[in-house]
């Protein structure tokens, strides 16, 4: 079959990393980094998410087209967030 079957070891490794990451992000939340808390939490979440997408959802092995679909999703979601925030962040700027 055309599919690429991933060895079980990799799945187990990904699983372990994800659990470890969950533990880390929970512990880091108790360390006061000021504004950076959010950045760190989101960075860890994005790393975990990319692990799930690449390995568990198999985006790493699917044809290029599905990767374009994923990137499109991220781009347009980012667009919605960014352009809405442009409005809210610049409301208090003096005219």
């Amino acid at each position: 079959m055309a599919e690429h079957t991933v060895p079980k070891k990799i799945y187990a490794a990904i699983w372990a990393t994800l659990l470890a990451m969950t533990l880390i992000t929970t512990l880091v939340a108790f360390v006061d980094l000021g504004r950076f808390n959010t950045v760190v939490a989101l960075a860890i979440a994005t790393f975990k998410a990319s692990l799930v997408v690449l390995f568990f959802m198999g985006a790493k092995y699917t044809p290029r087209l599905t990767r374009v679909v994923i990137i499109c999703g991220i781009f347009f979601l980012g667009l919605l967030l960014a352009f809405s925030m442009v409005d809210y962040l610049t409301r208090l700027w003096p005219a």
Binding site: L65, C72, G73, F76, L79, L80, F83, S84, V86, D87, Y88, T90, R91, W93, A95
Partner: protein, 543 residues
């Protein structure tokens, strides 16, 4: 359904007479039958929306609100908006023409997901049913835009029901888009590379992308409004610190790309009509194809131009305004290329071509007035007035509806194997063109003079232009009734159509009319670019 044409030209079996009975229609997975089901339901909704429009125009003949109460009037324009936008303009060209023609243009036997295609029609019918039920038992008066806090707290009409109906139509639209993208990507005939695809496929591909990316955001926005109505607690409630402008951001993030869902397929139709009826290759194929994709992408950058006076910050208004000028460029590219295609073409003035001319003229006026409202300074004055109403009616009625009628006439022989009566068709096209302009051009003037939108009673000095607009509306109504009559008439008495009456190089014309259930006897192989009329002098008019 229609009696099988018994003339000698069609002895064999095709998708209409292969099976009879209600079950063969209601449980079909044949994209052509689903397209016909969509055509019937979309036409019904068009005339329901038209009734509301007629009542609105009748009310506006006099400055005082004397035909209906203001509550009824508010429901009329709301339901006119909801029915026309969600139940006619968005599904019309993609779901009717696209469903029928797209698989044939791609050279496939059917859509990628036939069962989901039928599910899409059922979702549309359920959505339409729920919305019509809400209309009959009381209607909804929030405007088709559902702005909060009026829609969440102060309106006491059937907002929840209408939202559920629209959500169903939204899912139907998502599944249509899903089918388009999967079909165009995966089911192209051998030899049909992206550069050889007809432009109708490019524009419907871009439409599918917008449907997929935009519809879910308005779905969640309307769900949030419904939640706030039911539990009286929600994220748009100013008392909790909620911001009504946030709803407008989420709503317009979809609703501006939605206007491109409405106009892009119509542009695809016009590309087909212009090339077929001027017997020429399209001018600048790559640019017109890329313009479709550019419209889909840029369409998501500009939604703030609906909110220039709504309370967004100065700097985001500047950003949305400059972006709105960017998004106008691909549309201009398309219009320039159409006119360049016409140049030195062997133009024949058949009805579909008349509608294509109508589209190019009126869509251009709509597009240029779009540049007016994109300018921040002008928009302060003209937004929420009849200038904006005229602007979007020029694009939606002058553009999409004209192209839809052109497409219906153009592919009518392919769908039913019958020709429409040319004389009547030209007459109704003329009536529609005149009626449209008499209806909506005065509204530009009204808007500039300062008549606000959605007004039940207006200042007396606006009456003359309003009476003109109502007169135009009655002409337009007559213009829209004619095709309904003579097209139904043509189903039984129309002249039998040959396989390729227009001598078009389109792949969908290379099979019989009406086509067999699996479209092509054997899967076609594409060997040359689209619209290669210079290579086919032997293909000329038959009809």
């Amino acid at each position: 359904m229609s009696a099988a044409p018994t003339a000698a030209v069609h002895p064999r079996e095709h998708y209409l007479n292969v099976d009879y009975g209600i079950r063969s229609w209601l449980l079909t997975t044949d994209h052509k039958r689903i397209a016909i089901l969509y055509m019937i339901s979309v036409t019904v909704m068009f005339f329901i929306g038209g009734i509301f429009a007629t009542l609105i125009r009748l009310e506006l003949m006099t400055p005082a609100g004397d035909l209906v109460t203001s509550d009824t009037y508010n429901k009329l324009f709301t339901m006119h908006g909801i029915v026309m936008v969600f139940f006619f303009l968005i599904p019309s060209v993609p779901a009717v023409i696209g469903n029928f023609v797209l698989p044939m243009m791609v050279g496939a036997r059917d859509m990628a997901f036939p069962k989901i295609n039928l599910l899409s029609w059922y979702l549309y019918v359920i959505g339409a049913g729920i919305t019509l039920y809400c209309i009959t038992i009381g209607g909804v008066d929030t405007g088709w835009t559902f702005y909060t806090p009026f829609s969440t707290t102060y309106s006491n009409t059937y907002v929840f029901g209408s939202i559920v109906g629209i959500l169903f139509a939204g899912f139907s639209s998502i599944f249509t888009g899903l089918n388009f993208i999967a079909t165009i990507h995966k089911l192209r005939a051998p030899g049909l590379t992206w550069r050889r695809m007809q432009l109708f496929l490019w524009s419907n591909y871009a439409t599918g992308v917008i449907m997929i990316l935009g519809t879910p955001v308005v779905a969640i926005a309307l769900i949030l409004v419904a939640v706030e109505r039911v539990w009286h607690i929600g994220i748009f409630n100013p008392a909790l610190g909620g911001d009504p402008v946030l709803f407008q951001h989420l709503f317009w993030f979809y609703s501006h790309p939605a206007v491109y869902i409405m106009v892009l397929p119509a542009m695809g139709v016009v590309s087909e009509l212009v090339t077929t009826f001027s017997r020429k290759r399209v001018f600048g194929y790559e640019f017109v194809a890329a313009a479709s994709i550019a419209i889909a992408v840029f369409g998501f950058l500009v939604w703030g131009h609906h909110m220039f006076v709504a309370g967004i910050s100065l700097y985001s208004a500047l950003l949305f305004s400059i972006m709105s000028y960017l998004v106008a460029i691909p549309s201009a590219v398309k219009v320039f290329n159409w006119t360049a295609t016409l140049y030195k073409g062997a133009i024949s003035y058949r009805t579909p071509m008349l509608y294509a001319f109508g589209f190019i003229g009126l869509f251009t006026m709509g597009g240029l007035t779009g540049l007016f409202v994109a300018a921040l300074g002008v928009d302060i004055h003209v937004t929420d007035t009849y200038f904006v109403v005229a602007h979007f009616h020029y694009i939606m009625v002058g553009g999409t509806v004209m192209a839809y009628l052109g497409a219906i006439h153009y592919w009518w022989p392919k769908m039913f194997g019958r020709m429409y009566p040319e004389g009547w068709a030209k007459l109704s096209a003329g009536i529609i063109f005149i009626g449209f302009n008499v209806t909506f051009f005065p509204q530009f003037l009204l808007g500039y003079l300062g008549m606000p939108r959605r007004y039940h009673a207006y200042a007396p000095e606006f009456q003359v232009l309003n009476v003109m607009s109502t007169a135009g509306a009655s002409i337009l109504a007559v213009g829209y009734m004619l095709p309904l009559i003579y097209l139904l008439w043509s189903l039984r008495y129309g002249e039998i159509a040959p396989a390729n009456p227009w001598g078009s190089t389109g792949l969908e014309w290379q099979t019989t009319s009406p086509p067999p259930t699996h479209n092509f006897e054997e899967t076609p192989v594409v060997t040359e670019e689209a619209y290669a009329y210079d290579k086919h002098p032997e293909m000329e008019f038959v009809a």
